[in-house]
Amino acid sequence: MALQLRRKTHESIVYIDKDSAPRIIPFGEDFILEYLPVGTRVIYPNPTIKGLPNREAAIRYAVNHPLDADPLYAQLRPGMKVTIAMDDISLPLPPMATPDLRQTMLEVVLDICAANGVDDIHLVIANSLHRKMTEWEMRRMVGKKIFDEFYPDRYYNHDAEDEKNLVTIGYTKHGEPLRINRRCAESDLLIYLNINLVPMDGGHKSVAVGLCDYESLRAHHEPQTILNSNSYMDPQRSELNHKITRLGKLVDENLNVFHIETALNNRMFPEGYDILTRNEDEFSLSDRLKWEAIKRTFSKLPRIARRKLLHQIPAQYELIACYAGATEPVHQKILEKNFQQYEIPVKGQCDILITGIPDISPYNVYSALNPLLVQVMALGYHFNMYRNKPLLKKGGVLIITHPCFDEFDHRFHPSYIEFFHRLLPESRDAFYLREKYEREFAENPAYIEMYRRGNAYHGAHPFFMWYWGENGRQHVGRVIVAGAENAHVPEILGWERADNLTEAIAMARSYMGRNAEITMLHQPMIGICNVTD
């Protein structure tokens, strides 16, 4: 197919010509500029859907006109016990500019509660086995007024290890247990405030996963479930989603849940940094100057300073849809909107897939993207951003760009360190690791207390990160890290290293042939490739 014709397949897909500009590719906390081989297909995020002009009004309309449920005001009565649960800091990514969408949802909901005489209200962060949010993060998320009114007695993180505040609500017919936060389970009404960034989020996952304990989670956060999910970003073909839906039905039988879900557009960066998600061929002079400014600034800064700088750039996401009511119909509507924003039709798989790894993941907000998280972003999230079939052919080569530094955050990721340096050198087999070590880590008293009293991810969390990459690991033939600053991190992960992208592409071509089809995901992006033949 002539290059000129191939250019027109979709507005988010660009083919590299002889005269194409070099591409900006994330490289951890930095960005590199690289020329790609002619014929490379570059996939960009879809054009941004315009945000709703008045998000407060949209939320208020949704709770007053819910799907398959009575309006919120009609469900409230004086003296009742209400709990409002909400997504944690892993959503959205990067953290959005204040006021956070959860603050707006809370302001609307609390206003309606107050108007209906409800004052027994707790706010619970559905962090599941994620790290607990810090006081500063909690304040930022809900705003000073709500924080001052509720924190710390009535605004807190869920604690999946607090035995006395967990209650078993039942088992699915497949024997999967569900033990969740007692306050949420025993409330007359549980209101869930969700931000749906990717199709894997939201729906029954919010309550059944966000508020559960380790035993409940391990029933579906395991390698076989991930392997059977093709992909976990496509709910209809996700075994993970099917299992969580079973648990969700159990929730619906036992709890009165009023779900408020929201969909965001893909405006990840503020003006100035927005060039990072755009087609470089279309850069104006001003865009080039912006890029030069970014590049020069970053080149002068050490890694930690670059990281700090990146973490201070809030996302500019806008609300594009809000629905409320019963979990399933609400989630269905939000998913439609998600796919409208994210889905990119792609014809044909590729032999070599290039994806830059930016310093953005659900698990490293305000900390370092450690090697295990690089793995989960590459083989987990980036690989799984597809419907129908993977973007990369079975046995193909995945090239990532990241320095792969051996750096872990001791406060947030203590169990990751032991997992990476003690377990992975012994085995990379997810099933073996689960069988032999998962429970040991989960029951490690020090890790439990670090999770409960500090801000550490649960002891079992690094295992889930490893399972999350299982699909990719079984599918991809080789992973090459371009620019890895050391040899041992890629080696422990079972990857190869190359000094730079050019060398990595040459290595990949030596495996896949000179005519190998190359595709690059233009990170940072949120996009689901709907891959057809």
Partner: protein, 226 residues
């Protein structure tokens, strides 16, 4: 659900600063305020107060030297009197000083079948009740030497500090068939580096600056129980 281990394992804890916020000086001060007669009480309290800076300096220099110097303060005190006030010491000083997370940590450790062992520089009779309260299986504390019912100011060997704790743990593990590589050790102080170094799971608890640096360098877990 307790994990089935091939060999038994244990959790070894330092006490002061790790599980409780008080230290040896609090106990000494408690006894200083309960001397026979007002004059003795005043004298002992003043003496303790004056020695405080010296305690701090000597402890910085060496925990072993500190122990020799510190326990001299008990010289001349009767065993009966020290024992008599031990219950009050527990209720008024030690029990309220237990860190909020300490009991949870011990309970989680017991749940997975770890034997609970405390090694402390405190005096044995002062912590008996505390050990029961914390549900500790075994403990090794310092023992004052008494002659004719009065303390000589010396501590019977082995004095529990620094490398002695590590040596005691090794012997204990061998005697009890405990796997050190599967065991945990918890301490707040750099002086317990030997004890932390010989187990498979060292944990710095509320660590001082120097221990925190070591823990960061060696990728040890750092836990805050306060």
């Amino acid at each position: 659900m307790a994990k089935s281990r091939e060999k038994k394992a244990a959790a070894f804890y330092d006490l002061e600063g790790t599980l409780i916020r008080t230290n040896l000086v609090h106990t000494l001060a408690f006894y200083a305020l309960r001397q026979q007669g007002l004059w003795q009480t005043f004298k002992k309290s003043a003496e303790t107060l004056v020695k405080l800076p010296a305690f701090g300096l000597v402890d910085l220099y060496s925990r072993n030297v500190f122990n020799e110097f510190f326990f001299q303060s008990y010289k001349g005190q009767s065993y009966d009197r020290l024992r008599y006030f031990a219950d009050e010491l527990f209720e008024k000083v030690l029990k309220p000083a237990v860190y909020p997370g300490a009991r949870d940590l011990i309970q989680k450790s017991k749940k997975i079948g770890l034997r609970q062992v405390v090694l402390t520089g405190a005096l044995d009779f002062t912590i008996e009740k505390l050990m029961k309260y914390l549900e500790i299986d075994d403990y090794k504390a310092n023992q004052l030497e008494f002659v004719n019912g009065y303390a000589t100011g010396r501590v019977l060997p082995p004095v529990m500090a620094s490398a002695t704790k590590a040596k005691w743990i090794r012997e204990y593990a061998e005697r009890e068939g405990i796997s050190l590589s599967e065991s945990f050790a918890y301490s707040d102080s750099i002086s317990d580096l030997p004890m932390l170094s010989i187990v498979g799971h060292p944990v710095a608890v509320n660590p001082d600056f120097r221990l925190r640096q070591v823990a960061l360098q060696h990728d040890w877990a750092i836990l805050d129980l306060t």
